[in-house]
Amino acid sequence: MLKFNLSNHLLVGSLVVIVFFVVAPNLVSAYRLELLTIFLINVILAQSYRLMATTGDWTLCHYILMGVGAYATGVLAKMAGLPFYVVMPMACVVTAFVSLLFAIPLSRTLGFAFFIASFALGEFVRHVWLKFHYPFGGARGINGIPKLEIGQGGEWYFIDFWDSQNFYYFTLIFTILALMILFRIDRSRLGNAWKSIYSDRELSESIGIDVAKSRIMVFCVSGFLAGLAGSLLAYQIGSIDPHNFEMVEMVYLIIWCVVGGVKTFWGPLIGVLSMSVVFELTRPLAEWRPALFGLILILFLVLLPGGLETLPARIRAMLNKTSKQREAG
């Protein structure tokens, strides 16, 4: 007999979600499909950011890391003319390497200093893009990044990703892969060791966990996946410039993670989903939107610091309290 436990719930739930995303292109318009593609890229981004937060290290440079992946893709695909199956892994590795360069000095700092120093290092990289016209294109960035394709026109296995539906499926595959990797890490011994660092750094150190090394490693893994998100983004929009990777975008990423929460694997997913819906609904109010999101950020940090993922537990606690009061009264 099939035991219906949590992991089965999870399996069924994930399958339902995957089926939805697989049939989605038949249900929505081409414009919506592009939004959906961006949504998937944002999911990778938010989940990889959450990985950093498991050790307690919130950074302000994750968007820049995504940019590193995007720029690496632009340079390799356009200037070197390499095919996507070379470009994408290289973009991820380059981003992981830049993350390593960031992480080594940053691992000497903690908490707020870490946060702000990561911002400064990110700005450094953004200025590198602005300054060097070759190969980064300065303020105008890199335009006309070739769309990826498999095979050549006429061959039987030819897939053209100019077609947004094809690119959507391409992104979906990578999103599922990235989420699977992150889910495995989340449930592993390594994942627990990383979370223990956030819980009590001194204690982790005392049981033989090399805290500095672990923090550097988390940074690199997280950077690798941010690089993947960046590479997909570069292929999706075809042109990138330093303005794509400004602080504003980083604040939106933080809003997703604050609104959803980062304690559980599901928090950032809830965050990206709910905020993407709000973002689309407020399209007519575009110029007021930053203020609205700013307000949402403040309200969550002040009133619901754990994010939406903690809401069920809070409601349960509240109901218990009132029922107890009723019994007592």
Binding site: N192, A193, E202, I207, G208
Partner: protein
């Protein structure tokens, strides 16, 4: 080669000499206590041997390796593991998870294993050992309780159990009975004895509570004003006039 050796250990903070030229040797299998009146430099001493402070001069060696100046995790990897005076636990995790995280050094926690593999045989062994430690603690009932919700005594016990889960050769305990009632103290004393007898772990403890140290330790080192004042068996220490004077001077009695 000595098992655990402290040679001429000195720590200065600015003009203040917190530890002055302390030397001692702990043999394998011993339970050693380090005591002293308030302000004797016990905490500094513990922080020096556990790798939290770097000594001004002198050195600490463990199984022939110099450990003074190494980070705590490197010292732990050599087999000398410390505990904390406070109830240090991973509060968001259950008792079993706490013990299992503490097995970090003896399990495969590589990234590749996290993503692709599961060394099932080894995992089963680790789990078995974790269960064994929990049984040893008598905490089977609390196995799945959040560490945050345990009583103070149990939290401190779990702290020691986590250190034990790292499979150390030397356990360094920082005031293991601080803040406990007499019942909890007795349980902790029994536990430390069993750790040595059953698992063969050498114990070095720094403690304020005289009675506990006298009951538990075979050999005691007394610190006063940052210096080593005396060393010997509990009987010798109890009858040492210098020790009595130091404790009387500090308005604390040797019992």
């Amino acid at each position: 080669m000595s098992f655990f050796l402290v040679e001429n250990l000195t720590k200065k903070f600015g003009g203040l000499i917190a530890n002055n030229n302390i030397s001692m040797e702990v043999e394998k299998g011993e339970i050693r206590g380090v005591i002293g009146p308030n302000g004797a430099g016990k905490t500094t001493f513990f922080n020096l041997v556990s790798g939290f402070y770097r000594p001004t001069s002198g050195k600490v060696s463990f199984k022939g390796n110099t450990i003074s100046g190494l980070s705590t995790n490197k010292i732990a990897r050599l087999g000398a593991v410390r505990t904390f005076q406070r109830a240090a636990l991973f509060t968001d995790f259950t008792v079993l998870e706490n013990v299992s995280i503490a097995q970090h050094m003896n399990t495969n926690s590589s990234l590749l294993n996290a993503i692709f593999g599961h060394d099932n045989h080894r995992e089963a062994e680790s789990l078995e050992r974790a269960e064994e430690i929990i049984e040893f603690l008598g905490m089977q009932q609390e196995r799945d309780t959040m560490a945050d919700n345990l009583s103070h005594g149990l939290q401190r016990q779990l702290g020691v159990a986590m250190a034990l889960a790292t499979e150390p050769e030397l356990l360094m305990l920082d005031e293991p009975v601080a803040g406990m009632n007499s019942g909890e103290k007795a349980v902790m004393v029994g536990m430390i004895q069993k750790i040595r007898d059953k698992w063969g772990v050498t114990v070095l403890l720094v403690e304020h509570d005289m009675r506990t140290v006298m009951n538990l330790c075979e050999k005691i080192t007394v610190l006063d004003f940052g210096q080593k004042l005396a060393e010997g068996s509990p009987e010798e220490i109890r009858s040492n006039p210098k020790v009595i004077e130091a404790y009387l001077g500090a308005d604390d009695s040797v019992t």
